[in-house]
Each structure stands twice: as structure tokens, then as C-alpha cells.
């Protein structure tokens, strides 16, 4: 067998947890190999071991048949191993070129040759079809382009073994498609790829083989051609998983959220939402479909009181709430699962318990006359941890110590538990495994069935199509169409999202 990488019986422990236990992974030359597992199963850890960021307690790594000790990323780089991390490893304030050449700068007389560097970057980006602007700063470019920068970083170093840790989680459908094409090109160049993803569809489409780990243990490797999504899900979770979310018919009642003619400016002062109209009724889930950057963020911020509405009205249960303080809006009955869980969702240095009461700490029973009731707080947290299956050492553990998926579950537990009249869920399942996704979707539907309104924003069309009762397509700050998920498909939505076909909103609003 022509294996470029063999990781044999790897064991990696963290204080109090065994992240990898006897995991074996063999990567063949020129294959795209998927690594599958639930959140916290130990995928990232295994890859970080391969990349030299962690040292395994036990096990052996062979590169091209030779046993190696990878004690630093430098060594991994020298062995031709490159990794695109789950959380991007980019310096925001640097330009694309600077990020790519960092550590291997072309220089003359000790000075960085900026021109040559940019030229080098342009060359490889053309070779592999990875379009980037060499002079743009990372903080100004889209997530998709950031991802391409990450890949270019590896290619610039001449890696032939590429590790992608959940590259598709943050991408739009178009970008995912592009990534698929890029990986194909790379494979043709003779490179081998390990791909971590939770999306079984992607595995089925893009990969040759898949290795599954469950709770740190290696379950085995199967050929994609010989398996199907159901089997994979079962391997991963250890039980049967139902895919298309089961939900009954929606019974929409009165209007909960009414948005009229809303105008919101973005941080640069440009109108991002331009006269947007939208209604969400009690007992329904409205999904907002759109490509990133069409005003979704600003729309949510305006509803939740974080951005100013320049014009227009936002009504919750008939009362105007635009430009009210976030707390007033929360109290009026809005819950919000933010898009960026690290930045907006959690105080990472607080214990889970304190995070659970982030909006309610000042209310009884969590506090009384300004004095916290720790007992009530942690008891409540403990209850939610159980109810929402948040995997954590305890309610006293810092939020920082949880895996991304479990951090997200904690946020969802907090927001859903408050039982708001309107629940805004922005990308609620980004980066989560199928089990968790199923769980969260069911929770959203449960909210709906309890007569609450749910507004779902997602870049994943499958999710929008599965969960929503109505789909509002957002394009350049306006709702350009309202469609019925049962009578539409990816193709149509994709076209609408690209702005090619504008439906009259009036026509569809009576769906």
C-alpha cells in the first residue's frame, strides 16, 4: 500500500480527558480522506498531533514509511505537511501576501521584497485557481477568501500533504463548490488531502475514504464508494440518526415580528439594509437565505438593538422596538443565538454557569436585590447542561475549555430556555456534527410548535430548506422573494440569492 502518512495507535491526553485513544489513520497518495466524528471526538487533536502542535503520549507516525517525531510545525512543514486550521490562523492586520510569506520571506539585503512576494503569491494562486487580492488586509476580506489564503499559505511552502480542518463550516454554498474544485486540482497535482467535515454530503461527493472516530476512539476506515450517509452517521454517533427533520405542519398565528421599510448602515456607514420588509408570525420558522454580506448581520443587529435603525419600524408583538436598548429588547421577548459564538455568544473566561445567566443574572431567582444567588445559577446551569447534552467537566468549568460544538449547545440552551416570543438563530449549527444539528433543529421546531416565532439565518441551503416554514431571500439589503420551501429547490434559491430573478414580494407573502 502506498501510504504517505500512517498514524498508528495514537493516544493523546489532556488534563482529565483522553482526546485520542488508540486512533489509527492511513493516508494514501493522491487521495482525499475524510475524518469524521462528533464534536469533541478528537479530530482536531489528531490533526494537531500530525502537524506537530501536540505531542502524543503513545503511538507512532510514519511519513512515506519512515518513522518520524514531529515535535514542531516546522518539522511538519519540512515533511511537506500543511494544515488549514479549524479556526483560521491569520493575522488580521497583515495583508494577504504578508500572511502567506510569513516565516519564509523573499528578501534582498535583509528587506522583504514586497513586489516579488506578491508576484509569487499571484503565481501560485493562478496555478491552483485560488483567487485572492495579494494586497488586501485579512480583516477586510471575506471568509471565503481567507480560506483561500490559508490554502495558499500551505502551497507556498510546497506542502504535498494537506489537512483541512472543517474548511466548509464557514463557507457559502458557492464557496464550498469552489473548494471542491480546488481540492480536485490539488489531487491531480499529486497531493494527498485529509478533510474534516461534519457534512456527510460533502464526504460522499468529494472523498475517497473516510476514517471515523467516536469519543476519542478510532472506529475504523471505510471506502466512500461502499457506504452511504446513514451508515456513516451511525458509525459516528453509535446509533441511528434521522436526517430530514421531522416536523408537522406549521400553524402560524398573529404577527410577532413586523419590519417595515428598515434601513441600517454598516460599520463603514454604507446602507447595508435598504428598506427591508419582513413579517414573522407566531408558530412559524422563517428562514433567511442569502449570500454572506447582503445585510443579514445588520438586520439582526438592528432587531436586537445593537445597530441603529436609520429609518423604518421594527415591531415586536405590535410594539415598536427599533433603537431601544438591547436589554429592553431582550426583555420584550427576543432571544438571539449570535453568529460568532466566541465574540458575542460567550464570556469565555466565565464558567458555564455564569454564561447561562448572561441575560438573566439580574432577575430572580438568579439574584435578588443585586445579590447573586450562586446556588440557583449553578443548579439551573446543571439542569440545562443535562437537558441540552452539553459535554463539559462541570457547570463550573470555564466556557473556554469546551469544544466549539458544546459551546454552541450552551448558547442554544440559554436562549431556548428563556422561551422568547421571537428566537433569532444565526448560523446555529455551523461546525456542529449531525447529531448536534438534529438536536438543534428539533429544538427550533419545538419552539415553533409551542407557538413561538423563529427567525433562522443560515448560509446552508439544506438547513434553510429543512427547517423553515417560509423562506425569505435577502439580496443587497432587501427581501427579494418569499418562497415556500416545499415548492422550491437549491437551484431556484441559488438564483434568487444571486439576485438574478426578483420576485414580487407581495405575490409570495400570502404563502
Amino acid at each position: 500500500m502506498d501510504c504517505v502518512i500512517e498514524m498508528l495507535n495514537i493516544r493523546k491526553e489532556f488534563p482529565g480527558i483522553v482526546a485520542n485513544d488508540n486512533v489509527t489513520l492511513q493516508l494514501k497518495r493522491g487521495e482525499i480522506h475524510a475524518l469524521l466524528g462528533e464534536n469533541g471526538a478528537g479530530k482536531s487533536t489528531l490533526m494537531n498531533v500530525l502537524f506537530g502542535l501536540y505531542q502524543p503520549e503513545r503511538g507512532e507516525i510514519l511519513v512515506n514509511g519512515k518513522s518520524v517525531k514531529i515535535t514542531s510545525p516546522n518539522i511538519a512543514n519540512d515533511l511537506g505537511i500543511g494544515m488549514v486550521h479549524q479556526h483560521f490562523m491569520l493575522v488580521d492586520k497583515f495583508t494577504v501576501t504578508e500572511n502567506i510569506i510569513l516565516g519564509k520571506e523573499p528578501k534582498k539585503f535583509g528587506i522583504i521584497e514586497k513586489r516579488k512576494a506578491a508576484e509569487d503569491v499571484r503565481k501560485i494562486s493562478e496555478k491552483y485557481g485560488l483567487k485572492v487580492d495579494p494586497y488586501a488586509k485579512i480583516q477586510d476580506i471575506s471568509v471565503g477568501m481567507q480560506q483561500r489564503v490559508e490554502i495558499l499559505k500551505i502551497l507556498y511552502r510546497g506542502a504535498n500533504i494537506l489537512i483541512f480542518d472543517e474548511p466548509t463550516a464557514a463557507l457559502t454554498p458557492q464557496e464550498i463548490k469552489e473548494l471542491g474544485q480546488i481540492m480536485e486540482v490539488l489531487r491531480k497535482e499529486g497531493k494527498s488531502i485529509i478533510l474534516i467535515t461534519h457534512k456527510l454530503k460533502e464526504i460522499m461527493e468529494m472523498c475517497d475514504r473516510v476514517t471515523v472516530i467516536r469519543k476519542g476512539k478510532g472506529i475504523g476506515t471505510v471506502n466512500v464508494a461502499e457506504t452511504n450517509p446513514d451508515e456513516l452517521a451511525k458509525l459516528m454517533v453509535g446509533r441511528d440518526v434521522i436526517f430530514t427533520t421531522k416536523k408537522g405542519k406549521a400553524n402560524p398565528l398573529h404577527n410577532v415580528l413586523e419590519i417595515e421599510n428598515l434601513v441600517v448602515k454598516d460599520v463603514r456607514g454604507i446602507q447595508a439594509v435598504r428598506g427591508l420588509n419582513l413579517t414573522v408570525r407566531a408558530g412559524e420558522i422563517v428562514g433567511i437565505a442569502g449570500i454572506d454580506g447582503n445585510g443579514q448581520t445588520e438586520l439582526i443587529e438592528a432587531i436586537t438593538g445593537l445597530s441603529k435603525a436609520v429609518e423604518g419600524k421594527i415591531k415586536l408583538n405590535g410594539k415598536e422596538i427599533q433603537n431601544k436598548k438591547p436589554r429592553k429588547i431582550t426583555e420584550a421577548g427576543i432571544g438571539h443565538i449570535p453568529q460568532d459564538r466566541h465574540k458575542h455568544g460567550l464570556v469565555l473566561d466565565f464558567p458555564i454557569g455564569e454564561n447561562i445567566v448572561l441575560q438573566t443574572y439580574y432577575q430572580q431567582p438568579y439574584s435578588k436585590r443585586g445579590i447573586l444567588n450562586d446556588q440557583a445559577i449553578y443548579k439551573h446551569a446543571n439542569k440545562l447542561i443535562k437537558e441540552f447534552d452539553v459535554r463539559t467537566a462541570s457547570e463550573y468549568a470555564l466556557a473556554r475549555s469546551l469544544s466549539g460544538g458544546n459551546q454552541q449547545k450552551a448558547i442554544i440552551a440559554r436562549e431556548v430556555d428563556r422561551n422568547p416570543d421571537l428566537l433569532i438563530a444565526a448560523q446555529p449549527t455551523r461546525g456542529l456534527d449531525v447529531g448536534a444539528i438534529e438536536f438543534i433543529h428539533n429544538r427550533l421546531i419545538e419552539q415553533r410548535d409551542n407557538g413561538k416565532a423563529v427567525l433562522l439565518i443560515s448560509f446552508e441551503l439544506d438547513e434553510i430548506l429543512d427547517v423553515s416554514d417560509r423562506i425569505a431571500v435577502i439580496y443587497e439589503g432587501e427581501i427579494v422573494a418569499i418562497v415556500d420551501p416545499k415548492s422550491t429547490n437549491d437551484q431556484e434559491l441559488g438564483l434568487l440569492m444571486a439576485g438574478s430573478k426578483r420576485k414580487e414580494t407581495g405575490e409570495a407573502s400570502n404563502v
Binding site: 436586537t304 445593537l306 436598548k325 438591547p326 436589554r327 429592553k328 429588547i329 431582550t330 438571539h336 449570535p338 465574540k343 458575542h344 455568544g345 460567550l346 464570556v347 469565555l348 473566561d349 466565565f350 455564569e354 448572561l358 441575560q359 443574572y361 439580574y362 439574584s367 443585586g370 445579590i371 447573586l372 450562586d374
Partner: protein, 347 residues
């Protein structure tokens, strides 16, 4: 070894290591460490008098330490404790001199005014940070100098008749305690220590137990998430600096109404504010930690005075020891590693 035990061991080991290094210093430079340290001990704890002085010195240290710690816990670095303390000092003297009230009103009044003025001195950096994102470190450094010159001006031109020292505050505003002084053989121990302990409890309570403290900590850790959760980031930043400044201001009142009973022109900074940074950090920014660190510092500072006289060792040695202790505490990672080594060795 349990985590808790290790956390208790670290400061103890750090202190031992610090003293050990100090002893080596003394040996190398030709002094007798035994007589040096016994002089230090005698000068800090040797008898009732020195014990009283240690406790007296501890009082402003607790307040300064609490001020720094409070801001620190909420994500702010208040280097301005020194200035806030000076303005509180002068404010307390002003009240002590200018009013004729019964003690039950006068004394609390003087302390409250000191707290308010100290708070006001913290308000500006807080406001600038909250509204304009101006770094609090520079503003508080600048405010220190402004406080120094302004209070010197006030002492000379307003609170005294062109003198370097103000008159003493009236009896009804003093914290002086003939009882405590007598108990400690005429040390200048005053009632302030009890206030300091109460303040420490307050800090603990506000930070750990109140919703206010919850908000302050939350904003300190993650402004974005706090804003999402409906807290006012600006309000909390300002409030944190104001409370911190109030602690410092009361610290000044302790000197004004207790230790000295008057205000004087400061040639340079009193140093209490800067020592407060060390006290807070040594005390891990917790209330109980601040008390213990203030006690240690108070003892070392007071004891140091006795070293040259009794043993001939320059009292700068104590500054070195203090610095080393801070280092070892800061480098608790190393201490933990040492403990780990030691445990392995035992096994």
C-alpha cells in the same frame, strides 16, 4: 496535592524563595543575613509598637491594593491609584478643617468626600476609555501628575497660609485612637484598619456576589458578549474606574485622618499607589489576597527601617526581596513545576 493546596503553597514558597535570594545577596555582599533578617523581624513584629506600625502601614496598602485589584478584575489597569489617593487625602483634610460637626457626622463625611473626590479622579479616565477608547494607562499616569501638582497647590494656597503643611484636622474628624496607640506603645495605629477590612469585604462582595460585579467582570472579559447580553459597556467601564478611584480616595483619607492628621506638600509621589499595584498582584486581585499581601508589605516596609540601625544592612535589600517575591508569585508556573519535581522526587 490538591489544586487549592498548591494555590496556598505558591505564595508561601515564593516568599521563602524571595527571602532566600535576599539572604544570598547579603552573604555575597558581606552582611550577616541572620542579623539582617532578625532586624527586619524586630522592626516589623518585634514588639507591640512595631506591630502597630505594621498594621498602620497595611491600612493604606489595603485600600490601594483593592483599588488596583478592583479595576483589574474588570479588565482595567488603574495606574492612577496614586493620584486618586492624593486627591482623597487633601479632600479629607479639607473637610476635616473646614467644618465643625459632631464626630458621628464629621468623620464619615470626611471619608465620603474623599471617596467621592477619588472617584471623580477615576471618572475621567473611565469616561475617556468608555467613550473615546483612550487607553486608561496613559490617562491615569497623566492624572497622577495633575493630582500631585494640584494637591500641592491646594495645600499651600487654600488649606494653609502659604505653608508646606496644613493644620491638623479637628478632633471630630480624626481616626486617631488613643486606645490603639496606647495598646501598641504609641505607634500611630488608628481605626482605619477596621475600615480597610470592611472595604475588603465590600470588594469581595461586589465582585463575587453582586450583579454589579457580575456585569463588571463580564465587561472586563468580553465587551462584545456583554453588549449582546444587554449590558452597557460604557457604564460599566466608568463605574469600575469610579469604584476603584473611591477605594483609593478612602485610602488617602486614612492617611489624612489617621496616620498623619494633616496634608503636606509632596515632594514626589507617596508611592502607596504604586505599591498598591504590587499588593494587588501579589494578592491575586482578590480581597483576602490583598489583605495578606498588604500585611506582608506593611511588615517588610516598616521592618526595613530598622535594618540599617540594628544590622547595618541597607534597607534597599527589602525592596529587592519584595521584587523577588513578586517575581516568584508571578512565575507560579515555575513554582508549580518545582512542586511537581519535588513530588516526583519523593515518589
Amino acid at each position: 496535592m490538591s489544586n487549592r493546596l498548591i494555590n496556598v503553597m505558591i505564595p508561601i514558597i515564593a516568599i521563602i524563595l524571595g527571602l532566600l535570594c535576599g539572604a544570598i545577596m547579603m552573604l555575597v555582599s558581606g552582611y550577616n543575613p541572620v542579623s539582617g533578617y532578625s532586624a527586619l523581624w524586630n522592626g516589623a513584629m518585634g514588639d507591640a509598637f512595631y506591630f502597630g506600625e505594621t498594621i498602620r502601614q497595611m491600612t493604606p496598602y489595603i485600600f490601594a491594593g483593592l483599588a488596583v485589584a478592583f479595576a483589574f478584575r474588570t479588565g482595567l489597569f488603574n495606574i492612577g491609584v496614586e493620584g486618586q489617593l492624593l486627591v482623597g487625602w487633601v479632600a479629607a483634610v479639607w473637610v476635616g478643617l473646614s467644618f465643625d460637626l459632631p464626630k458621628v457626622i464629621h468623620l464619615p463625611f470626611a471619608i465620603i468626600v474623599a471617596a467621592i473626590v477619588g472617584a471623580a479622579w477615576g471618572f475621567l479616565p473611565g469616561l475617556l476609555k468608555a467613550r473615546l477608547r483612550v487607553h486608561e494607562v496613559i490617562v491615569t499616569i497623566m492624572m497622577n501628575y495633575i493630582a500631585l501638582h494640584t494637591t500641592n497647590y491646594l495645600v499651600r494656597n487654600v488649606l494653609s497660609d502659604q505653608k508646606d503643611t496644613t493644620p491638623r484636622v479637628s478632633e471630630s474628624a480624626t481616626l486617631k485612637s488613643p486606645l490603639l496607640e496606647q495598646l501598641t506603645d504609641y505607634s500611630s495605629l488608628h481605626y482605619g484598619i477596621f475600615l480597610a477590612l470592611v472595604a475588603a469585604v465590600m470588594m469581595w462582595f461586589i465582585i463575587e456576589k453582586s450583579t454589579l460585579g457580575y456585569e463588571l467582570r463580564s465587561v472586563g472579559f468580553n465587551q462584545h458578549a456583554s453588549q449582546y447580553a444587554g449590558m452597557s459597556v460604557s457604564k460599566n467601564i466608568i463605574l469600575s474606574m469610579v469604584i476603584s478611584g473611591a477605594f483609593a480616595g478612602i485610602g488617602g483619607a486614612m492617611e489624612a485622618l489617621g496616620t498623619f492628621g494633616y496634608a503636606f506638600q509632596h515632594a514626589t509621589f507617596s508611592g502607596i499607589g504604586f505599591d498598591g499595584i504590587a499588593v494587588a498582584l501579589l494578592g491575586a486581585n482578590t480581597a483576602i489576597g490583598v489583605i495578606l499581601a498588604a500585611f506582608l508589605f506593611g511588615g517588610l516596609k516598616v521592618g526595613a527601617l530598622n535594618m540599617p540601625l540594628e544590622s547595618g544592612v541597607p534597607n534597599e535589600l527589602v525592596d529587592i526581596v519584595i521584587a523577588l517575591i513578586i517575581f516568584f508569585i508571578a512565575s507560579s508556573y515555575m513554582v508549580k513545576w518545582l512542586i511537581g519535581r519535588f513530588k516526583k522526587g519523593v515518589k
